[in-house]
Amino acid sequence: MIKKIIIDSEGNKFLEKIETISGEKITSCDQCGVCTGSCPFTDNMDITPSNVMRKVQLGQKEVLETKTIWVCASCLHCMTRCPRGLDLSKVAEALRQISLREAIDNFDIDQIDKEETKKLPPIALVGSFRKLTG
């Protein structure tokens, strides 16, 4: 029996939006799982990187609520190995941008240990602000 998955127009709009922001052809993902196998931080994630790709393909917006998209640190292990040449760091960034462009931060700057800021390299601070705040 052939199963057919129907993605509603809202889901399709979501997929298109993420493809526009990321510039990646997300529908070409084959779900081979090499990204998940390569990712050093899956232990800290709630869903796997390949699962993020699948959810975006299907237009499932709840992917925005996952920890995974914020844990991705763009280390690019996955991209280096993806047989489809996809850059998952750009997909994660696009998903983060949905919140960040509405100025919804994922990181409370007040939580930074004041003593530690004296030791922290500026690139750690700027990197965090760029990735986690809108």
Partner: protein, 301 residues
């Protein structure tokens, strides 16, 4: 006959002027000894730190590209002589500058857009090549370092840590992205022994060190223990964020696991300065959290 000195534009970036002063000073002094004069870019600005990953927002490429204009200006002003290579030390600066350079050089539309937006600046002509110090040293031949060595670092086991930014994405990598050996070759040139290990390009956790410290602590522990398992005595790196995480987060690892054996993390230029026979003022070991002196004692006397 006296060898001609190489004069090359150099982009330091913010962290080399703050937490990683020991990286800069050790590099400047070592390069002087190797006949390379690093000329700091006038009016440099932030490299952007993390590469822009959004296709629909090109604004983030302005900062890196503006730095590249400075290199062309240096050539026009005669500060350097037909030297369009821009030397970087910090891996993150290298990554963002090189990627943004590709972004404008390989797409005329992007170049025009960025140039139009920065109409008060001279147009960027796309002449600049962003390179990392490892590439410069490798191109000149690591044997030229060996010739100048005063203290051969014999029997010192060194783990070469690449991190992410020197290798990925593949199209800007300083070596094979999956199986690099450029830093190992550098280590061999100093007379030291590069260890073979698995985690040399595993991500340390990067900027999560602020918002998700435990993630970084766990990652660093795995990296360091792998280096130790392969008998490394020190780890060298060129990324100030990796260096911070690998060095400073050993405090938290030790608090959580008393059996953990701490080990020194050095910038590769600190090791180079040592091998070149430079003085303590060129090492900047006081900025290292784990004191490297006990391990390097036999070379410091």
């Amino acid at each position: 006959m006296r060898e001609n000195k190489l004069r090359i534009p150099y982009y330091p970036g913010c962290t080399l002027k703050a937490n990683a002063k020991n990286f800069e000073v050790s590099a400047l002094h070592s390069m002087e000894k190797l006949g390379i004069e690093m000329i700091e870019l006038p009016r440099w600005n932030c490299c952007g730190v993390v590469e822009s990953l959004t296709a629909d927002d090109k604004m983030r490429h302005l900062a890196p590209v503006r730095n590249l204009i400075r290199v062309e200006e240096m050539n026009e002003a005669g500060i350097v002589d037909d030297e369009f290579r821009l030397l970087t030390l910090c891996s993150m600066c290298f990554n963002t500058l090189k990627r943004s350079n590709k972004f404008v050089r390989e797409d005329q539309e992007n170049l025009d857009l960025i140039n139009d937006f920065m109409y008060q600046e001279p147009d960027y002509q796309g002449k600049v090549e962003v390179i990392h110090l490892f590439e410069l040293l490798a191109d000149r031949g690591f044997s030229r370092i060996t010739e100048k060595i005063e203290k051969k670092l014999e029997k010192l086991n060194v783990a070469a840590y690449y991190g992410c930014m020197l290798l990925r994405p593949r199209n800007i990598s300083i070596d094979d992205a999956e199986n690099p050996n450029i830093i190992e070759n550098f280590v061999s040139a100093l007379g030291a022994n590069p260890v073979n290990w698995h985690n040399k390009h595993r991500c340390c956790g990067s900027y999560h060190t602020l918002s998700n410290k435990q993630l970084v602590v766990d990652s660093v522990k795995e990296i360091i223990q792998d280096a130790q398992k392969n008998r490394a005595e020190i780890i060298i790196t060129s990324c100030p964020l990796c260096a911070f995480n690998l060095d400073q987060r050993q405090k938290e690892i030790k608090e959580q696991d008393d059996n953990f054996r701490q080990m020194p993390i050095l910038y590769f230029t600190q090791l180079l300065a040592l091998a070149l026979g430079l003085g303590k003022e060129s090492f900047g070991f006081d900025q290292n959290y784990i004191d490297p002196e006990p391990v390097l004692k036999r070379f410091l006397e």
